[in-house]
């Protein structure tokens, strides 16, 4: 499972990351937490309000900081993180922009 924290590195992003880290530890999950700070990549998820929490390429929350309990619920509910058909994963583009586009 891949957890992504989207945000420019503001204090709120760090709080969200800490909560996610704690949730992962408490569940003993093997989820990996990645930070995404590139604005171009962030808006590809269809959001503008950061910080956002993305689990398996699915936006779970944005513009707020879910607490540890809520993140644990997200992580343990397989229904919640099943990708839907009308939710295309953002392009990891084939162009030479180095992820900037």
């Amino acid at each position: 499972m891949i957890i992504k924290i989207l945000g420019s590195g503001c204090p709120n992003c760090k709080r969200l990351e800490a909560n996610a880290q704690k949730a992962v530890e408490e569940l003993g999950s093997d989820a990996v937490i990645n930070k995404v700070t590139d604005m171009g990549l962030i808006i590809n998820y269809g959001i503008m309000s950061t910080p956002a929490l993305v689990i398996n390429e699915q936006v779970m929350s944005y513009g707020r900081i879910p607490d540890v309990v809520e993140i644990k619920a997200m992580l343990s509910n397989p229904e919640l993180i099943k990708p839907t058909i009308n939710n295309p994963t953002p392009k990891t583009s084939g162009c030479s922009c180095g992820g900037k586009c």
């Binding site: 604005m39 808006i43 269809g46 503008m48 309000s49 950061t50 936006v59 607490d67 809520e70 586009c101």
Partner: protein, 320 residues
């Protein structure tokens, strides 16, 4: 409405701190206690209420509404939506990119960019608390009108080529379905957002009210009239220039300015100053350089600046 707070302030200053009433010190202390309590109660209630509204209308939803709107109606809606959205300079770039990417016209995006920081709930609470509802209403209405008109003007100008290249290349994507908050999440969000804001602004507000209270108590009335009264033509543009670098302290500036107004600064000058503090922010301009050329930022700032100066003169003329 604030009578119980006045009683509390009287009791604290005359009985608890046992300052003799009717002295300059008593007047300053009483003023400080009354205003502080009043402002923080108002801040708590209003920010919480606005956060709840925003949990139904996040920027992501607003841009989808705006992307289907044409000029004028789009500008009006953008200016109105700007009232409920929070804005710090760090969100300027994602908002700008996000709006342009779903096809919101440039002029409409600018209306939003002007109104969002200028007409915000913190400024509104402070204006209402320190100046009363009339000035607060004038501020909101003028702010919204400046946002609409600036956006309309920029929309008419040939400025597309002044956007950073990658903004124009960013093509519209499929609307991605985003999760909605439920009620416990909304309440939680509103609670923590309110707390965040109050935590961030309280020192500025205390300092602002504190210095304001000193001015209130010790500076003679009309002291500033000869420098910044309504008949001084240079007062308005000067106030706007001074306001540009002060954004982070907006919360503290308003109580301070309210005291200055008492001492003879004309009300239009005061309004123009506060608008400049919130709408023309140097840090925001620096950040916007990532998505547009300096020339466009200067055009944007000049149009809004002229609007603010005009508003200042107008109310100096209308309200004596």
């Amino acid at each position: 409405m604030f009578y119980p707070i006045q009683l509390l302030a009287d009791w604290l200053s005359y009985s608890v701190f046992s300052i003799a009433p009717k002295t300059l010190l008593a007047s300053a202390v009483n003023f400080f206690i009354f205003d502080t309590i009043k402002i923080f109660i108002l801040l708590g209630i209003i920010i919480f209420a606005v956060s709840i509204i925003r949990s139904f209308l996040p920027a992501e939803k607003i841009r989808n509404i705006l992307s289907h709107k044409h000029k004028i109606i789009g500008n009006i809606l953008a200016a109105l939506f700007g009232i409920i959205t929070p804005f710090c300079s760090c969100s300027a770039v994602p908002l700008f990119l996000g709006f342009v990417e779903v096809g919101v016209p440039l002029g409409v995006t600018f209306s939003f960019l002007v109104s969002s920081p200028m007409v915000n709930e913190v400024a509104l609470v402070l204006l209402f608390g320190m100046f009363g509802w009339k000035i607060a209403t004038i501020y909101v209405l003028s702010g919204v009108i400046i946002a609409i008109v600036s956006g309309l003007i920029i929309g008419e100008l040939p400025v597309e080529h002044l956007l950073a290249d990658f903004v124009r290349q960013n093509q519209a994507k499929n609307a991605i379905k985003l999760p909605q908050m439920n009620w416990p999440q909304r309440l939680n969000y509103a609670k923590s957002y309110t707390w965040d804001i109050v935590k961030k602004v309280w020192p500025y507000i205390l300092i602002g009210i504190g210095v304001g209270a000193l001015i209130h108590g010790y500076v003679p009335a009309d002291f500033l009239a000869k420098y910044a009264g309504a008949d001084k033509w240079y007062a308005v543009p000067l106030a706007v220039l001074i306001g540009i670098p002060l954004y982070s302290n907006a919360a503290g500036v308003i109580p301070l300015v309210s005291a200055l107004t008492e001492k003879g600064v004309a009300i239009g000058t005061t309004l123009a100053f506060m608008m400049a503090v919130t709408a023309l922010s140097l840090p925001e301009f620096m950040i916007l350089k990532k998505v547009m050329k300096t020339k466009l930022i200067i055009i944007f700032a000049s149009i809004v600046g002229i609007g603010i100066i005009f508003t200042g003169y107008l109310f100096n003329f209308l309200i004596k």
